[in-house]
Symmetry: C2
Subunit: 222 residues, 2 copies
Amino acid sequence: MDGARADAELTAGAGAAGAGGRREQILGAALDIADERGLEAITMRAVAARIGLTAMALYPHVKSKDDLLDGLVGRLLAELARPDPAQPWRDRLRALGRSARELAHRHPAVVPLLFVRPAITPEAVLVVDSIYQALLEAGVPDTEVARVERMVSTFVLGYAISEMGGRFDAGDPRERRALLQGIELPAHHKLADHLEASVSWDAEFEADMDDLLGLVESVASG
Amino acid sequence: MDGARADAELTAGAGAAGAGGRREQILGAALDIADERGLEAITMRAVAARIGLTAMALYPHVKSKDDLLDGLVGRLLAELARPDPAQPWRDRLRALGRSARELAHRHPAVVPLLFVRPAITPEAVLVVDSIYQALLEAGVPDTEVARVERMVSTFVLGYAISEMGGRFDAGDPRERRALLQGIELPAHHKLADHLEASVSWDAEFEADMDDLLGLVESVASG
DNA sequence: ACCTGAACACCGTTCAAGT
DNA sequence: ACCTGAACACCGTTCAAGT
């Protein structure tokens, strides 16, 4: 029914590389709104208003709001920096991880969609392929490459989302202490000094990547 | 304003261990609805109807819909099996991981909330403390325990959500092939035989846990 | 082909009113 | 104290109508 138009938009988008096209304009407006006011500020009416249209004028270019959100994850993945094939595999994986994290910093409200919506788009598979290449070069056995790719990307994405979403934050120290009073937390008690210190998420991510690359190597060497 | 009542509910809930109380009943209804019809079927009106009330009757017991959702993640965490302290640290971490994954299987629609909403509740901190204990016993340096805990729980949670949310699924092979035609995917091509095979998520999770425990050990030994 | 306006069946939440 | 009914300001989406 609307397959013809959707296909036309898809091929046009692929050809023009993100330029022109109402659909691109719509996705851009939705991304801007989410960056400014959060995910739930993405409303058909709000998106339309931002480009001077009425909500119902979006439907020829976007099958539904769900389709719009799927288009948004496509945009995100296209923003991911593709690693330079000349670099050694270790640097490529690290660059990819950093790029994902930078993406989350630019679009904190939208990245969680990457975890919740399946991404079988060409952009997504291109990223996966470059990770496969790096893992093969590292010496990961053919039978293990897909598993290790899922492991690495799950962690990197999860870290970026957790960091930006506040899952790593301890909350206000005062009410935290009040809430936990009377609960036995032996390990917290033992580690109290270190848990009070503030954390550099930059440094922690780099340390995690070190460990993760070590894990890749250990899988590679059997 | 409503702090008095909220506090009363909290202490009552802690004392009665999940039994009785309108708030518990409301959270139970919401969880049932999400299990049966998905996260967005959780509606103030729907939750109220399930326990024979009108939507506005929920507000004395639940500050807002957001508060209801936060209460829901509390319920989830309370369902997580606490590991037996008599077991060796390795078994405890593995049991915790399996338990998180089983939780995701029971409540696939709700687990993503664990990643998106901060969990500073007593239940959450109890889980974290048991992970700290295991890591300390493994010999992870005090300065590294918190980082490694975040790494492990980020991966385990991310895996469970990805598995149940379909992020790991390749999609229909026919349309996948159609969509990817003409794109250069050298590593996919090289791995074609292994990528066609169907994956056991049970087995993959166990293999991932093996690698993760190896990582913990390597951090422990310095 | 693309867009508009009105309308439908919903939302979360507030407020006055009941008991 | 707890609940109801009506109402407000929104949603996504459909449909008939315009050009």
